[in-house]
Amino acid sequence: MADRPVLEVHDLHVTFRTENGLVPAVDGIDFAVAPGRTLAIVGESGSGKSVSSAAVMGLLPANADVKGEVLLDGRELVGLPADELRAIRGNDIALVFQDALSALNPYYTVGWQVAEAYRLHHSVSKKEARRRAVELLDLVGIPGAARRAGNYPHEFSGGMRQRVVIAMALVNNPKVLIADEPTTALDVTVQAQIMRLLADVQAEFGTALVLISHDLGVVAETADDVLVMYAGRAAERGTVRDLFHRAAHPYSLGLLGAVPRVDVPPRPRLATIPGTPPSPGSITTGCPFQPRCAYAERVGERCVTERPELTPRPGEGDHEAACHLGRRPADA
């Protein structure tokens, strides 16, 4: 717990220059994750959660402007020369994508692709890299790894492909692993296998995990800390228990009420959040959630004119919410 964070992000802004002008996708985000810990970034489409992770990796397209600080072990990554950043990518920070089929190159064997990731950061022979690749494929639970290393991605099932992607991400023993919806494309029984694998890896290597997900079930089971994003902004931040037991932002509360549950008898109706998530950049003043918020009327003008900042919840440690409603919504 006392570990210093290995990855710190301060006041991250990402703006896309498009034909229709500047579109802000991420508008001032802070987060940090310590070795062995898991931070979940939760949000719906357009919330900026995936853009944030791409910004950390320096993988955004050329029309994206990134401002703010991304510190890896205290070293600033924003504005780093391309070759220095390249030495860090895949070595100190690695990425696990949502869709393993499209994330893997169809023209090369999985063994080659894992070995490539190793050779990019280690000057070793092809044979040595191959040996390391097989070792990793074995580690992530691919049966007959030595033989399967010679197969192409399309010859694997969805779950096995995601294991390959994880092996590729782990081959250089990174300090930080960013997993962007790593199980969304998978069946639940396979999802359980993959989440267990990630937990095992974390326990063994002390990897810090940034889990980007819209699945509150997965988040509740894996995360230590949670950041809830809405329209490019942080809505709420705290421990996983803060969010699930003491949700302080009306949006978080709405999300929790909207999720059907498999473990308890159904409610007569699911709680809903009216309307749809805003498109990036469409809300410029006030609280981005205000048009859909059930509590906005109670607060009044402030929600429309003044943008709420993350504020600590009294007596709840590091739990913060960006809401003008002082009380917890449930008590309001």
Partner: protein, 332 residues
Amino acid sequence: MPDLAWFVVRRLAAAILVMLALSLAVYLIFYALPADPAHLACGKPCTPDRLEQARHFMQLDQSTLQQYLNFLKGVFAGRTFGEGTAAVHCNAPCFGYSFPLARPVTTLIIERLPVTASIALGAAVLWLLIGVSLGVVAALNRGRLLDRLAVGFALVGVASPSFLVGLLAILVFGFWLNMVPVNGYVPFTESPVDWAWHLITPWLVLALIQAAAYIRLTRAQMLEELSLDHITTARAKGAGESRVVLRHGLRGALVPIVTLFGLDLGGLLGGAILTEKVFSMQGLGELLLSAVGQLDVAVVVGTTLFSAFLIILANLLVDIVHGALDPRVSHG
């Protein structure tokens, strides 16, 4: 591998059927023409008697179907025209006998093929190099000056008729600048340097025109490939841009390029008619052209079938190579 063998067998069987249908069609078309080849052969004065004699000797007095069957028989067993000392033998595989040139068509094709092959292969290497590299450069500089230049060059190439470019090249480089020989062909076996020196202008002219299609195709394919998720994976692994572009991007773009290349080359090997004419080279195209002028039906049929065979063969090879290039393709 048995899958591949079965695939080749199936395709070859289909190819034979296509060749048969094609040869019949070519026969029927040329015998529907009002001109009589025997008329040219009978000399002057052409009495009805001598004409009849010539017809009989050339076996033109038989029914069209019988002539076609004779032709087929000649392919497998050879054939003989006339009797006794005046007899003309055409050994198997006999693709007809040219009375005006007094040579079997097979021999003519074998004589002319090295010329056409020299033109086609040299030009092909050039246009592939020019087309693919300019296409890659255009894709990487999408929307910028280099892209516009490459696309403009492609447009000019597509719009230019080869005889015009060829004549211009002869005028400028041959006569005005006196840099290169303007016509003639020197066999490679005689002098490789002279061979290349005589061919350099036709190569460049053909390459300039053909490269256009390759620039456009490569550019489009690269733009598509570079937008795929596995390219982001390669960057996330820490691969440098040149590796991302060449090993990961171009690798995928290669499949359709190779397909087009195979078909173009197959077509060109059957005779580069205009280029051969402009540069006065005695290739297959020139053979066909003069045969049409002299109503030398045997040569027309033979060279047409040979071209068709090359194209079918190219198709087959392209499909096999396709399977080798793309592991997802199965020949089952």
